[in-house]
Amino acid sequence: MSKKLGKVFVEAVTSLFKKPATSGYPFEKREIHKSYNGKIAFEQPKCIGCQICVKNCPAKALIVAKVQDKVFEMTISLAKCIFCGQCVVSCPKKALSTTSDFELAQSDKNKLTVKL
Amino acid sequence: MHAGEIEIELKEKYSSSILSLSVQRERRLWLEIKAEDFRSCFERFIKEDGFIILCTITGLDTGEKIQVIYHMSDKDGKMLNIKISIDRNSPVIGTITDLFPAAELSERELEDLLGIKVEGLAPGRRYPLPDNWPQGQYPQRKDWDPSVLDKKIEKSGDKND
């Protein structure tokens, strides 16, 4: 090994004049990929109420309830959801999809249970 | 040497102690031996058959017996899984920390989770359960009831306010 002093000197000094790699998050937002596993989106007309998503959900975050004949309502607990996307894969009618919405924090616990 | 050849060789060498031996696939050998012959066979596996690496020790509760599986490996990646069955009511095994110091944590895990008594294991801190875990509760046993814990939590009244 050949030893040198201040190996990162050049990089450090040039960094002074570069745009910072970080950004002021809540004010400046980064673009999120469309394929991001964020909050689940639900298309009500497609749902047939088969409950496969509920059964396959590893976190037991989903509830599908029958509102009236052939109309189903879905409730998700964002606190429980682990954003694995298993429900999207499981759905036989493709009624579920992922969105890139990831800013889901709430100061009120009750608001974490959302009707989709 | 192929797994098949080793199988034949092991069968000849340890015929008196082997209960069963099977080759699942290349590099996976399963072996069940008598618990009382374990120590002597184990030493020979290391010295004579080249299984010099101890991967881990698994303990499991089959309902009638407690089984302990020693997962050994040689330098080519062949795995020898040595299974012994012991009495469920007073499970006792001998330590192998004199051969593999690294087995210490695995053996403590057996003590904590299954209540196996490991003879010859030097005293030390328990692992992995907390120091104030109640006596005689072995979570990895099939008949262990986790509600022992739940009841106490309810009683204390503080539910994540």
């Binding site: 201040g6 000197f9 450090a12 960094s15 002074l16 910072p20 790699a21 970080t22 | -």
Partner: protein
């Protein structure tokens, strides 16, 4: 009397130094961040930190000696401020010049370090105890090279007073002779300020916060303040001794030149922080005595030879 009070409390004493130290902290942190390609803190961050710490609960460990525990941060602050009063900033004269004020300032700057050591000792926590040991060991390592380096220019000027040193160099280029001593002074100043690569006494990943581990709330705020003021005072001291120029008649220009000088020195300190990993205490000792002390000695020898030659 009023004038003296103003001098001590407002300018160039407490208030001015307080503001300058906060600006200095911001500048240092921003530079450090930008060199690491980060955004760095917003301008009000040092003030916000200070106010936040002041409003926090003060916890004094049960084992600690409460009286000394409370007094030490003030000792550190006051001795730093006192040192500042004796350094010429933007005229060739300090507020209260006397012969030997260089030595006095150096000793006043040693006091905060000793108060850190005592603070760690009286905290009675294992981390603080190790921190104390390290503070003292480190003090032995850098103090001698620092003294030698700072006094080398004074030796050439044959005086222990700032005023005479500055007027000796006058407008000549003789101060360039002292550049090796300047390098030693900057490195040892880093050691005095306990920053990477010499942040051994408060190495975060080893002993949590070293001597300050048990300090919380306002008392910790004062220690931090003392640390920040020390940066400014140390930089001013080095600037006064090694850059003895820019003391013209226009006060405003002098002020700007003074700011530029300490900005340059703080930049060097931040750069050093960026470039190196933390040394071990034994490596620090070896480094100081094997490399820095000989260089400082060499500088003194050179200065004596130059003096004889003139």
């Amino acid at each position: 009397m009023t004038a003296a009070l103003i001098n001590v409390l407002i300018f160039p004493g407490l208030l001015f130094l307080f503001v300058l130290s906060l600006i200095g902290e911001y500048y240092d942190r921003k530079l450090y961040a930008r060199m690491q390609n980060r955004m760095g803190p917003p301008w009000f961050q040092p003030v916000a930190d200070f106010i936040k710490l002041l409003s926090k609960e003060l916890i004094i460990p049960a084992n600690a000696d409460a009286r000394i525990f409370k007094v030490l941060p003030l000792v550190a602050c006051i001795s730093t401020i006192v040192a500042y009063l004796y350094i010429p900033l933007f005229s060739n004269n300090s507020l209260l010049p006397f012969n030997g004020d260089i030595i006095f300032v150096l000793y006043m700057l040693t006091l905060p370090t000793l108060s850190y050591a005592l603070a760690g000792w009286y905290s009675r926590s294992p981390y603080s105890l190790v921190g104390t040991m390290r503070v003292l060991t480190q003090l032995f390592a850098y103090e001698v090279p620092l003294f030698m380096a700072v006094l080398a220019p004074a030796i050439l000027a044959s005086s222990w007073s700032f005023q005479e040193v500055i007027s000796f160099y006058g407008n000549s280029w003789l101060w360039l002779v002292n550049i090796p001593a300047f390098a030693v002074a900057i490195v040892t100043l880093q050691g005095k300020l306990e920053k990477v690569p010499f942040d051994i006494p408060e190495a975060e990943t080893e002993i949590v916060a070293g001597v300050f581990t048990e300090y919380t709330g306002p008392l910790y705020a004062y220690f931090r303040l003392a640390m920040n003021m020390q940066t400014i005072v140390g930089a001013s001291l080095v600037a006064a001794v090694f850059f003895p120029f820019g003391f013209g008649t226009c006060v405003l220009l002098n002020f700007v030149i003074y700011l530029l000088k300490i900005a340059f020195i703080i930049f060097l300190l931040a750069l050093m922080r960026t470039l190196f990993a933390r040394l071990r205490i034994d490596q620090m000792l070896v480094f100081c005595w094997k490399y820095l002390a000989p260089v400082a000695l060499l500088q003194i020898t050179i200065n004596i030879i130059i003096k004889a030659w003139f």
